[in-house]
């Protein structure tokens, strides 16, 4: 029996390794009868698979109970079906499977990475299915996890970076569902009871609101069966209402928060772009030149390379279902804050006024298209792309047309898009750190 099993696996291995690599990802998509969207990419070469089940149930769905999405997600593997937390962990770990759950502003998801050898895979999948469809939300587990969250929130108050980000999101989004931190606030989380979590789970973890992404060495029929197994135990339910539009700031604001750190954290920005934005590629490529290009960008050059003012200086668009933040950030010694902020603002203002040069655009395009294959050169990276495409219902050929879309961008179109979309007069500025006094060395 053992011998047979072994040689079979070995054979599968050899066959897999002789198959030439595929250049582009072929995303297969279908919908289950209950309305769940399934996205599948067959990736060969390693006897493993990554599976993600995602729901429109991120922190934007917290309502006034900030942190509810995160705590609900965090409790899923603390008890489910007949099993307690230890038994769940043992089931996964005895087959070498890796489970995790997480949330973002828009999305809540559970992820599984497992070997595809059948007995191992089956045990991992069954465990995931029970976690997803029959979580217990026991009172004792709830109290413990709530206390751990509260401890984490307390510890957050040690971190200037995290405090600055919380203030920044509040400044950009105020009462919009994107305006509060995903892990919540001590005041809100303290007030939760286990029923709140059960209700949240029942409302949002439903088939009509679910998406499954599968990337790895499963056949199409195995993938279909896997998705069916995972989703069929969920009630159909319905999709939540779409999130409200972001209310744009009407004027600039500047907020300083005094904190006993040696550096001041500087964040400047405004609501920027969303996933289906027609301006997306103009903004994306433009930002790549401005501050998104790693060790080569205007901001990095002005702040770090020319002046040595900071270790990291960058800008980014974080597209979400609604307008996610456009952010410029750096950290600098307290007494240099004014200087660094001036350099940052001037770099942005110049870029908006003048746009990029032809040479800068050519260099950026070469970087983006030349490095295109690296965006999905592992199953893990590919999964996160497919997940984004699926969750936001982007065209399935998003990756195939990505390079074309980048090539289409011109200096004129970038300048035009930034002018319309990024207004220096609407920038929200957060500085958090020690006051102006000369900081100790």
């Amino acid at each position: 029996m053992r011998i047979q099993l072994l040689s079979l696996m070995l054979l599968a291995w050899v066959v897999a390794f002789c198959t030439p690599a595929q250049a582009a990802a072929k995303i297969e998509h279908w919908q289950t009868s209950q309305g769940s969207r399934i996205y599948y990419v067959h990736s060969e070469g390693l006897p493993m698979v990554d599976i993600q089940v995602a729901f429109d149930a991120g922190s934007a769905r917290d309502g006034s109970q900030f942190g509810l999405s995160a705590l609900t997600s965090g409790m899923l593997d603390t008890g489910a079906g007949q099993w307690n937390a230890d038994q769940i962990a043992q089931r996964f770990e005895s087959v070498g499977a890796q489970f995790s759950s997480s949330i973002s502003n828009d999305m809540a998801s559970v992820s599984l990475r497992t070997l595809t050898d059948k007995p191992l895979f089956d045990k991992a999948l069954e465990t995931l299915q029970v976690i997803l469809t029959r979580p217990s939300f026991n009172e004792a587990d709830f109290q413990r996890e709530k206390n751990r969250t509260l401890a984490g929130l307390k510890q957050q108050e040690e971190s200037p970076a995290e405090l600055a980000h919380i203030a920044y999101y509040k400044a950009l989004y105020n009462d919009h569902p994107y305006g509060h931190p995903g892990s919540g606030l001590i005041a809100t989380v303290s007030g939760f009871n286990v029923t709140d979590l059960r209700n949240f789970y029942q409302n949002y973890y439903v088939a009509a609101n679910a998406m499954v992404v599968i990337v790895g060495d499963l056949s199409r029929s195995q993938a279909e069966q896997t998705a069916e197994t995972l989703i069929s135990g969920l009630p159909v339910g319905h999709k939540p209402e779409v999130l409200p539009e972001v209310v744009m700031p009407v004027k600039a604001s500047k907020q300083h928060i005094d904190f006993p750190s040696s550096q001041t954290h500087v964040l400047v920005g405004m609501p920027g772009t969303y996933r289906k934005d027609v301006d997306y590629f103009n903004l994306y490529v433009g930002n790549h030149i401005l501050g998104g290009g790693g060790l080569v960008s205007k901001l990095f050059e002005e702040v770090r390379e020319k002046r040595g003012l900071a270790y990291s200086a960058s800008s980014s668009f974080a597209p979400m279902f609604r307008k996610g933040p456009f952010t410029l950030s750096l950290q600098t010694r307290n007494d240099q804050t004014v200087l660094a902020l001036d350099v940052l603002n001037k770099t942005l203002a110049d870029f908006i006024a003048q746009g990029p040069t032809e040479a800068e655009l050519i260099a950026a395009k070469k970087n983006i298209t030349g490095g295109f294959a690296m965006r999905f050169d592992t199953n893990k990276k590919l999964l996160s792309y497919v997940s984004m495409i699926g969750f936001y219902e982007m065209p399935l050929d998003y990756l195939d047309t990505f390079q074309q879309n980048v090539e289409k961008v011109t200096t004129v179109s970038i300048k035009d898009a930034f002018k319309r979309r990024i207004d220096p007069q609407l920038m929200q500025t957060i500085t958090l750190g020690g006051s102006d006094k000369k900081s100790e060395k």
Binding site: E93, D117, R148, H256, G308, T332
Partner: protein, 456 residues
């Protein structure tokens, strides 16, 4: 489900996987540069890494952190390329690049579409021997590194605690110094210091080139010969690194660190050998398995027993790095739950150690650790970068890359008796260091001032 069969199958699968698929080719150029190539054709990309045998544990007093400083300066130009050009060329070729410094190595990498490997080789070969170290560039970059230190360490209570803890736990081992360097040392680097450091360590015969990806091994060797072949070797071998063997610890060490923070923290570390220094190789693997018994996932003892069971900790972890160049600390870290103290946790963690010394680990537990190690060996192969990291690191610390292939098998051979034996032999109170982070209030002066700028 027949459990025994399942375990047996699992234990075999990745062993085959590794032996069937891990094919590393090795070549040494006349100038001493070692080249390791591993073909992986899943995606049309390749990572190229240059590893130098130098890191913070090579540094004498007064210039701690200089390896890391030099890493930053390596982007500042050569005879051929002006400052910043390196990064621009890599970027224009669609590349991602960076560098990192550790206690035992300094490494530089580019990830690119596989056909552009020559771009990476040309640039790396150039800065291996022809770096320009200019006072003006150093002045600016010193500020950058100082900001980096502020961000990573000075404004982070846990990181600062770790730094002080290492400085206490080691008496004379260079592991007592932070990789980024002590602030006062950073302030006082001179161009001449960096020049000397560069001359001493940056040469083909002190480096390993690792390439993993969609490449042809022979072509990579030829390309490496073309770009790196003409480089002169150094007489760095004539400079023998002093062993700096840690003196014997003669009893438990304890310290309190008072810092503005919100939660207390406990760190404990036992002096233990590593694969490179241990008398019997299996002992290092047994310590590795022991770390897994404590912290190998959510089912492991610390999370199950102290976070969930007794609810003493909100977080807890154990770590051991068997591939360090010099003897290490087997570390335990924990943050107490509300109403519990670091002393409660210290007692509980010592109980866990005592259990390991008295009782044999359950077979189920042992199998779970091994199952995870085996599965991870497959998962790791999803990433070229990680595979290259492993090869480069093992080669650079002097263990040799072949340890990658042996790892799974050696872990698999560890028995419950061996785990108990290393617990008894090495996790000793007299070899223990303990640090408590005692939070001071974060000055109550948190004020906000808000200005609305009414431009329109």
């Amino acid at each position: 489900m027949n459990k025994r069969l399942l375990c047996a199958a699992l234990l075999w699968l990745p062993v085959f996987a590794t032996s069937a698929a891990t094919k590393v080719s090795e070549q040494v150029l006349d100038n001493g540069l070692k080249i390791l190539v591993k073909e992986d054709h899943r995606s049309p990309v390749a990572v190229s890494q240059v590893w130098y045998k130098v890191g913070s544990s090579y540094e004498p007093g007064g210039i701690t952190g200089i390896s890391h400083m030099l890493e930053h300066m390596m982007f500042k130009g050569t005879d051929k390329h002006a400052a910043g050009e390196f990064s621009r060329i890599v970027a224009e070729n669609g590349g991602e690049e960076n560098a990192f410094t550790g206690t035992d190595y300094t490494a530089y990498f580019q990830t690119m579409e596989a056909s552009r490997l020559a771009v990476s080789f040309e640039l790396e070969a150039d800065r291996m021997r022809n770096l320009h170290l200019l006072a003006d560039e150093l002045k600016k970059e010193l500020q950058v590194v100082t900001e980096e230190r502020r961000m990573r360490t000075d404004d982070n209570p846990q990181a600062k605690m770790q730094e002080h803890f290492n400085a206490m736990a080691y008496t004379n081992s260079p592991y007592k110094n932070p990789v980024i360097g002590w602030p006062n040392d950073i302030e006082n680097y001179k161009v001449e210091d960096l020049q000397a450091w560069y001359q001493r360590w940056y040469a083909p015969n002190n480096a390993t080139l690792v390439v993993v990806g969609d490449v042809d091994t022979k072509a990579v060797f030829a390309l490496a010969e073309r770009y790196f072949g003409p480089l002169k070797s150094c007489d760095c071998q004539s400079y023998t690194l002093k062993p700096q063997a840690e003196v014997e610890q003669l009893g438990v060490r304890k310290m309190t660190i008072k810092l503005p923070a919100k939660l207390p923290t406990l760190v404990m570390g036992y002096k233990v050998p590593v694969l490179k220094t241990v008398q019997h190789e299996w002992e290092a693997y047994a310590l590795e398995v022991l770390a897994g018994v404590l912290d190998g996932g959510s089912s492991a003892r610390l999370e199950s027993g102290l976070v969930r069971g007794k609810q003493l900790a909100v977080s807890v972890g154990a770590s051991y790095s068997l591939t360090s160049r010099l003897p290490e600390l087997f570390t335990l870290e924990a943050t107490p739950a509300e109403g519990k103290t670091v002393w409660n946790l210290e007692t509980a963690l010592k109980d866990e150690i005592a259990q390991l010394q008295i009782k044999l680990v359950d077979n189920d537990e042992l199998q779970r650790i091994k199952a995870q190690v085996l599965a991870k060996a497959v998962y790791e192969r999803d990433s070229n970068f990680y595979q290259a990291m492993q090869l480069g690191m093992l080669e650079t610390v002097g263990l040799g890359w072949k340890v990658v292939d042996q790892y799974v098998e050696k872990v698999n051979q560890v028995t419950a008796e061996q785990v108990r034996e290393v617990a008894q032999k090495y996790l000793l109170e007299d070899k223990l260091s303990v640090a408590y982070l005692e939070p001071l209030p974060i000055t109550g002066n948190i004020t906000e001032s808000k200005t609305e700028i009414g431009v329109r």
